[in-house]
Symmetry: C2
Subunit: 138 residues, 2 copies
Amino acid sequence: MRTELLKDICQTLEQVGVRPTHQRIEIMKYLKEHRVHPTAEMIYSQLKEAIPTFSKTTVYNTLKLLEEKGVISALATDEDQVRYEANMTPHGHFKCVKCGALFDLNLDGVAPPEKELDGNLVLEWQVMVKGICSCCRT
Amino acid sequence: MRTELLKDICQTLEQVGVRPTHQRIEIMKYLKEHRVHPTAEMIYSQLKEAIPTFSKTTVYNTLKLLEEKGVISALATDEDQVRYEANMTPHGHFKCVKCGALFDLNLDGVAPPEKELDGNLVLEWQVMVKGICSCCRT
DNA sequence: ATCATTGCAAACACTTTGCATACGC
DNA sequence: GCGTATGCAAAGTGTTTGCAATGAT
């Protein structure tokens, strides 16, 4: 439900002390609705149509702010552009080297989240699997 | 032994059809001897002292070439600069959020390399663990 | 002589910063 | 009205490209 999502986004933003402005809500909404792990550029060009005065600066400002607040996360990729996602539950990522698709991966039973590793304190855990997705395997 | 390493590097390069020039050997040697996963900039500034005419273009050219040939690999990080390594055996990486150190991680028994995942063909497997390294835990 | 390699400089792409305008309480 | 948010333009940074000089066989 559209209203549900909006309410959820506003609540999330307010919880971390970020004022739910039009632009911020739209960026969050875009991330929640388009789970392709978009780049700043993708978000900008898509929302530019809906919000004519929309600027790239706002995209970068907002993404940075939301990441600092722990509401979204930036993905480590070997691409030149940073990719973002609003899915904050633990999961991995699969990158298809053929079509370029980047999607979430369920890692239950594959990489159990450890608290400690060789004496190092573990805070975060990113898994990037590269290969050929089921669609591209013909 | 120094001579051993050089011989090994030349052999590796020749195996993939890359002529072992002075610059390429030095870059490979640097990667083999400095396992801090250096950036192109780090490699450049270090080798510039030994080879005065050394250029950044050559660093980028060489790193790109060697990566394509599968002799070195580029690391997916959320930093702005790409990091490289010559350790091609399967392993993970640990990034200390305090001191910034980036080192290899043994993943035996943690992330078993699967051939297939949800119908997707797995080719590569990168694990990035973030946290606080044993040195920084006071 | 020919082809690959190197390296300078310029171009490029993504992101950040400076600052003026507009907005919300 | 005052502090925050926005957005334009310019600057910054990492990387790539064009092309001439050099080097190897």
